[in-house]
């Protein structure tokens, strides 16, 4: 059957902000779906609250709503747009849950909207653990023995029934399995169950037989309406059961299954998708296999595209989301074409002649108090993927793709140290899953451990361990040599084992440049192979490459067009995520529009930039000097763009330039100039701008002297980092001494910067574009929080809402002068602080900033695209963008934090960025725009109920004003001693609550019982008091609106006031276009 003609318009729900468990992969899948459905002539209606997505660019859907993903907002959209169908399976768990809410609330039935892809019944069966288990048993599949319980006594009962610890506890309906865990004893069991019951929105947990140490597999399956099923990819987890698959190193294809076992798993996958009733589209099904008996159990299924399906798409070249969208509107697999081979149909199963490895990227360093043990609840914030001809090549490439400093499996540095490690540490690091475990496997080999012993500690399949053993043995063998004595054949073998030049330089006591030159001289050239879905059985037409060392190089001959390379941002991490991928994708589109050939290099499988049809040529490669330079030279590129991929490509810029790469746009020298304190101060002085008093310290002693010179409070920050890693605001010498070492450790050998901290200053982010002649401000964003909160974590308002026109004029002049002085060609971001009506420059970054997509959405101008064009030599006047456009509507940015994943971490906004994503609220009314941003960031502002208010001493005077406003809005105020007294003294009615140590019920009890609707708690010192953190943690866990700054709380009051007095409307971004005033 061809596509359905009874459907005209289709609603797609996006995944909302980036959070742990839901990253850019859903922008990738959603973008594919939008494109696929538009291509078929459907009217696509999209809603997503995340402005940093490609999918929310106005051209990807017919109507695009950047609105909160809440039941009532989406109902309003449905009422306004009257879609015929809703596709719920492409926006992650968020979209799936919201679709079910819409169904349960009768909204879909009311407006006659059909759910396509997966019906509510199927989603329910796939998501409800108990129903799912029954389905599996009915079709003859095995499951882990388990019981669903709704209370602690019931759970105790279940534990007795299941008989033996450890037991797994999984709360129902939480994202990425958050709140679950493994209990090894009764005490732990009680704790985890209680926490799980708390976190589960339906107060339900599953107590389950523990399959710890079993092998884990995933199957990516697709089905069409003719009941034709195919497996796109099998994935084997390197980390056995016990570690969430999102936190596991995974490998495709499955490595240790015989054909008999694989086919049973394949048949079982089809049986599952049929029984659950996913009519069309993709599903991910997870299995576990007992390595001793072969017993196979079904773990779970996701009746939607997932992080794994994005990985499978990148691993095989089969675009799962695109095909899923087409199947949902009635196509059959055999009616669709395989884009890569062109002649063969999509009804086949990809076969791959390489090995794909994915390694998650963690950021425990940002949540120092959190437990870094890997469990069944996901904690990683990103991932890198690498392709190699063999597992050894693939995993070594992937380790260097992670950008954590590893050069491979070894090679010096923090993770590849040659220092001996004691057995106790090794045993601990191997016995408990953690982010560094793989590096300790090497330490174990070095310490003389056998594969058997490592297996006993880790239960990692011996096949994988032996592969790592071979890498280790190769390293040992090479270490007997020097660069000169190692034979060409062995050198080539080492490269085939995935050893990077940097790694070899370490082993052979040489340096990168020498190794590289020597390798070239010996004719050991990198060869590029195609990802073609078919292991070379058919000709492939899509230039999607990975590097290897083989006989044949498959790089296509030059097309005659000029080629520009774009360096992506690598794995997502806090501080460097989807915003930069957004910019890279725009660069690619811009270059193609101008007739250049775009060559994309990236290692992040979640992204749109690594979709095979985003760029003319795609290289799925690590972003290291060696890998990038090789591509640049072999492709004979005419230039490279380094200012769009965040810090990753910037760190390479100078070395690339030194090796003859033509960096287009702002020069690497200018980029470094902005980082160099002395030179930068000279520039500011020259153009008459001031900055807070500052010094650059090379050691701890010097740092303290300088701190006293500028005077406390001071801001400490390491140089050359993104995301505020190791940044601290310190108010006293004691605090200073507590943290100075950490600041130096972030970038060893680099200086630490010490700035006078401007308290209670207004902070302003300005994004600007310049072609070298003309500079135009894209947008000015005023922070809601006072200076001191990292701009990635701050809520922002665009256009600025409190600054005077005179001040804005001063800001403009300063920005343009800076662009001129730094000879910016492309984008520039400036952070200003305004205190006592005086303008200070905090920081200038002559590159794309995190706020570029937000600004582009707010003004309706594709800033990143313009910037890429400008970098190729185009002029803004020819591109028609010569005047700043101030929107007539308000856009509010709010950040989203992963605190709920890191119990114990301190919940406080500071100079170190800790948010994972962002949302946007747009409205003609500032209060409503703020309320929308809050609703999008979840849980949203309350309009009635009780507010818990407890503030630091400095905020107490304003707290009175705040409390009065809240009382006037109808809220009751609860507080503890200090703040309560202040309020009572000022005559504000307040209910006094016990502090946690003072008895029960305390604030946490009230939060848990749903009696508190908003918590306003501003932290006292740099390190929050235990009580405060318990309250904030409870607020997070129970979806209670939380404000941790006094300015945030005042904005909330404005938002609540607006919600109480005005209608919350919806409007697609296409209708905001042109809603600007030219400056």
């Amino acid at each position: 059957m061809p596509k359905r003609t009874d459907l005209k318009s289709i609603l797609i729900i996006g995944a909302g902000p980036i959070v742990i468990g839901q990253a850019c992969e859903f922008d990738y899948s959603g973008t594919q779906a939008c494109k696929a459905l538009k291509e078929e002539g459907y009217r696509v209606i999209l809603v997503n609250s995340n402005p940093a997505t490609i999918m929310t660019d106005p051209e990807f859907a017919d109507v695009t709503y950047i609105e909160p993903l809440t039941l009532d907002m989406v109902e309003k959209i449905i009422a306004a747009e009257q879609p015929d169908a809703l596709l719920p399976t492409l926006g992650g768990q968020t979209a799936l849950n919201l679709s079910m809410e819409l169904h349960k609330a009768g909204v879909l039935a009311k407006y006659g909207v059909e759910m396509i892809g997966a019906k509510p019944d199927a989603i329910n069966k796939g998501e409800d653990r108990e129903l799912f288990k029954q389905c599996m048993l009915r079709i003859g599949l095995d499951v882990a023995k388990s019981r669903t319980v709704k209370s602690l006594p019931e759970a105790r009962d279940a534990a007795v029934q299941l008989g033996i610890f450890p037991l797994i506890i999984r709360p129902s309906f939480t994202l990425g399995g958050s709140g679950g865990g493994i209990a090894y004893n009764r005490e732990e069991f009680e704790l985890i169950v209680a926490n799980g019951l708390d976190l589960s929105p339906v107060h339900e947990v599953l107590v389950e037989e523990c399959l710890l140490g079993w092998k884990e597999f995933e199957m990516e399956v697709m089905r069409d309406h003719k009941d034709q099923c195919v497996v796109i990819c099998s994935i084997e987890n390197f980390d056995p059961m016990g570690v969430h698959t999102g936190d596991s190193i995974t490998v495709a294809p499955a490595m240790t299954l015989t054909d008999k076992e694989y086919q049973v798993m394949r048949d079982a996958s089809f049986a599952v998708i049929r029984e659950i009733g996913v009519e069309t589209g993709g599903s991910n099904i997870q299995f576990s296999v007992d390595p001793v008996t072969g017993r196979m159990v079904v773990i779970e299924m996701n009746p939607r595209v997932s992080r794994s399906s994005a990985l499978a798409s990148k691993a095989t070249g089969f675009p799962i989301a695109k095909i899923a969208a087409k199947l949902a509107v009635g196509y059959a697999l055999d009616e669709l074409r395989n884009d890569i081979t062109r002649v063969t149909p999509a009804s086949f199963e990809p076969t791959i002649d390489y090995v794909v490895t994915k390694i998650p990227r963690f950021t425990f360093e940002k949540f120092t108090d959190a437990d870094p043990t890997l469990t069944s609840a996901m904690k990683s914030v990103g991932e890198a993927m690498a392709i190699g001809r063999t597992f050894k090549e693939s995993i070594q490439k992937c380790l260097r793709s992670l950008e954590t400093g590893a050069r491979g499996f070894g090679g010096g540095g923090k993770h590849g140290s040659d220092e001996p490690v004691d057995e106790k540490t090794i045993n601990a690091k191997l016995g408990t899953p953690n982010a560094e475990r793989i590096y300790f496997i090497r330490h174990a080999f070095r310490a003389g451990y056998t594969v058997e012993r490592i297996f006993d500690l880790t239960k990692i399949d011996p096949w994988f361990l032996h592969q790592l053993r071979e890498i280790y043995e190769m390293e040992q063998a090479l270490a007997q040599h020097t660069l000169v004595t190692v034979s060409t054949a062995d050198f080539r073998r080492a490269k085939q084992f995935g050893f990077s030049d940097a790694h070899l330089a370490h082993i052979l006591a040489s340096d990168l440049a020498t190794v590289r030159a020597y390798r070239k001289q010996r004719g050991i050239a990198t060869t590029y192979r195609l990802v073609d879905t078919c292991a070379a059985e058919f000709e492939a037409f899509t230039p999607y490459y990975y590097s290897s060392y083989g006989d044949e190089n498959e790089i296509l001959p030059p097309s005659g067009k000029k080629k520009i390379m774009i360096l992506g941002g690598g794995p997502n991490r806090i501080g460097q995520g989807i915003e930069f991928d957004y910019c890279c994708v725009h660069a690619s589109f811009a270059l193609r529009e101008l007739g250049y050939e775009s060559v994309m290099v990236n290692s992040n499988p979640e992204t749109v930039s690594t979709d095979y049809d985003t760029s003319d040529r795609l290289y799925f490669e690590p972003l290291t000097l060696e890998d990038v330079l090789e591509i640049y030279q072999q492709e004979k590129c005419d230039g490279a763009i380094v200012q769009f991929g965040g810090q990753t490509p910037l760190n390479l810029a100078s070395a690339l330039k030194a090796n003859g790469v033509n960096i287009i746009g702002t020069s690497p020298e200018s980029i470094e100039l902005a980082e160099d304190r002395k030179l930068f101060a000279a520039i500011l002085h020259k153009i008459g701008l001031s900055q807070p008093a500052n010094r650059t310290a090379l050691n701890e002693t010097e740092a303290l002297t300088f701190a006293h010179e500028v005077g406390f409070p001071v801001l400490l920050r390491p140089s050359f980092v993104l995301g505020g890693r190791g940044m601290f605001i310190v108010y006293s010498e004691d605090e200073f001494k507590a943290v100075i070492r950490q600041a130096f450790e972030v970038m060893p050998g680099k200086p630490v910067l010490i700035d006078k901290f401007l308290e209670d200053a207004i902070e302003l982010d300005v994004d600007c574009i310049s072609d070298g002649e003309t500079s135009v401000i894209g947008g000015m964003l005023e922070h809601i929080e006072f200076a001191g909160v990292h701009s990635g974590d701050a809520s922002m308002v665009m256009p600025p809402h409190t600054l005077s026109p005179d001040m804005l004029t001063t800001v403009r002049q300063a920005t343009y002068e800076l662009a001129r002085e730094l000879r910016v060609v492309g984008l520039m971001n400036v952070q200003f602080a305004i205190k006592d009506n005086h303008l200070y420059v905090l920081e200038v970054n002559p590159r794309a900033s995190r706020t570029v997509p937000f600004v582009a959405k707010a003004i309706g101008v594709p800033l990143a695209k313009l910037a890429a064009k400008v970098m190729t030599g185009a002029k803004l006047k020819d591109l028609g963008f010569t005047r700043e456009q101030t929107p007539k509507h308000w856009s509010v940015k709010e950040a989203v934090f992963p605190f709920v994943r890191f119990p114990g971490a301190s919940i406080v906004l500071g100079p170190e960025m800790r948010s994972t994503g962002e949302v946007m609220g747009i409205d003609d009314d500032l209060g409503i725009a703020f309320a929308k941003a809050q609703a999008a960031a979840k849980p949203g502002l309350p309009v009635k109920g009780n507010v818990f208010l407890s503030v630091k001493d400095a905020d107490k005077p304003r707290a009175v004003e705040l409390a009065r406003a809240l009382v006037q809005l109808g809220f009751a105020i609860y507080s503890t001693s200090g703040t309560a007294r202040t309020l009572a003294d000022a005559g504000v009615p307040v209910k006094r609550l016990a502090k946690i140590a003072e008895g029960r019920p305390n604030t946490v009890d009230l939060i848990k019982n749903g009696q508190i609707q908003m918590v306003i708690n501003t932290p006292g010192g740099m390190i929050p008091r235990r009580d405060e953190n318990a309250i904030r943690t409870a607020a997070y866990a129970h979806n209670v609106c939380l404000m941790t700054t006094i300015t945030g709380a005042f904005a909330a009051v404005e938002g609540i006031t607006a919600l109480k007095h005005k209608q919350v409307g919806i409007r697609p971004i296409q209708q905001y276009r042109g809603n600007v005033t030219l400056v």
Partner: protein, 408 residues
């Protein structure tokens, strides 16, 4: 097959030295190209037709599939040998291909069922293997230039000699390979024999797809042209008593056995070079329900008066999409063939094309319009490969049942 006692030395390691490995091997093609790699398995020099297989699992089934007789098989999947071999997964008594080429052979075996490693297995059976070959480059060559006469050697021979040996090999076209792999005498496939592994592999605790054993058992006369054992296993599971006959059995011998149906198996080589089989099958056409697989399908083509032709590089893998015109549905199938039925040649044979391969539109299945006869080019028995076409065995049973009931 020798049994590695698991547990004593849990994981033996098989491989040459990582640095400066000492035992090279060579693959030479008739066009003069030479691939140097590392030797494993037996020490031998052999010649044969070099082909590639795109299956990601199932090297044991491929090695032991008699259809690969005379061929040097290249696996496009890169990590081979990971899970070792087990007697249960044998498709015939030992490996049948002439040589085996992989990108990387596993240094260790990791699977609870494994009893022997790939290098040991090949060495034991005298089959040379070659690893560290750029199998993708080789595959592309075979795709572009076609399956080729080749020589694989794990002995110290020169490139020139290897090329000469490749060129000197008699071509597959026109040769009868079946005689080398068929059984010598008729025999009853023992459904109750433990060594025949008639029970489908199913992990403990999983009961999916447990077949309902039909009430009546039909007797099938199964020609062994180099049959894979899983075909017999599946026939048993689907309600047949299987009497196996050598390829040279005449139609009179079959009639003497008085079977309810006839089965034509897979096998190696050029289907046109087997006139004696074509004649036997022609003799059986009017009187028995017949089901053919692979070479059996090609034998049926010739018996009906059709012809076959050689494909450039064949279909070998587990991901081939086949569309059935009767059901409108696509199955993912396991395939292993270098020849195909010419659809134009079927015009006056009474047979019609029921299935085609969606990759290249070649014939994958045919059915006689009046007689109870059908066949498929692909492998519904899988092993290795997907089980999607398993229902064909049920179809065969139903066809025989209908015939017995006088409905056909």
């Amino acid at each position: 097959m020798p049994v590695i006692p698991l547990g004593s030395s849990r994981w033996s390691v098989f491989r040459q030295a990582l640095m400066s490995p000492s035992k090279p091997g060579v693959l030479a093609l008739a066009d003069g190209s030479v691939f140097r790699g590392l030797a494993f398995g037996a020490d031998a020099t052999i010649a044969g037709e070099c082909v590639f297989n795109t299956s990601m699992t199932g090297y044991q089934e491929i090695l032991t599939d008699p259809s690969y007789f005379g061929q040097i098989v290249t696996m496009t999947a890169v990590q081979i040998g990971n899970y070792g071999l087990t007697p249960e997964d044998e498709e015939s008594s030992g490996p049948k291909c002439a040589g085996f080429i992989v990108r990387e052979v596993s240094p260790v075996v990791s699977n609870w069922r494994s009893r022997i490693s790939l290098p040991d297995y090949l060495a034991k059976h005298g089959i040379p293997g070659l690893s560290e070959i750029d199998t993708r480059a080789l595959t592309k060559k075979l795709r572009v230039d076609g399956a080729m006469k080749s020589c694989l050697s794990t002995l110290p021979i020169s490139d020139e000699e290897a090329v000469a040996r490749a060129r000197a090999w008699r071509d597959m076209a026109g040769s009868d390979y079946v005689k080398d792999v068929t059984c010598r005498e008729p025999y009853l496939w023992r459904a109750d024999s433990a060594e025949n592994f008639n029970a489908a592999y199913m992990p403990v605790g999983t009961t999916m797809n447990a077949p309902a054993t039909p009430a009546i058992k039909f007797r099938v006369a199964a020609f062994d042209y180099g049959a894979k054992h899983t075909i017999f296993r599946k026939l048993v599971r689907h309600g047949f008593e299987v009497q196996v006959f050598p390829a040279t059995a005449t139609h009179e011998q079959i009639r003497e056995h008085a079977p309810d149906a006839v089965f034509l198996s897979n096998g190696p080589g050029d289907p046109a070079a087997l006139p004696y089989i074509h004649k036997t099958v022609t003799g059986l056409l009017p009187d028995f329900p017949i089901f053919g697989i692979c070479l059996g399908h090609q034998m049926l083509t010739h018996a009906l008066g059709g012809t076959t032709f050689k494909l450039k590089f064949g279909h070998r893998g587990g991901n081939q999409p086949v569309k059935n015109f009767e059901t409108g549905k696509v199955s993912i199938t396991a395939q292993n063939h270098g020849f195909a039925t010419d659809p134009k040649s079927l015009d006056k044979t009474g047979a019609k094309v029921t299935e085609i391969n969606l990759n290249d539109q070649t014939v994958e299945g045919l059915r006689h319009t009046t007689l109870p006869i059908f066949s498929v080019q692909y492998h519904p028995e899988a092993a290795p490969g997907p089980n999607d076409a398993d229902p064909l065995f049920t179809d065969f049973y139903r066809m025989v049942e209908a015939r017995k009931a006088g409905k056909v």
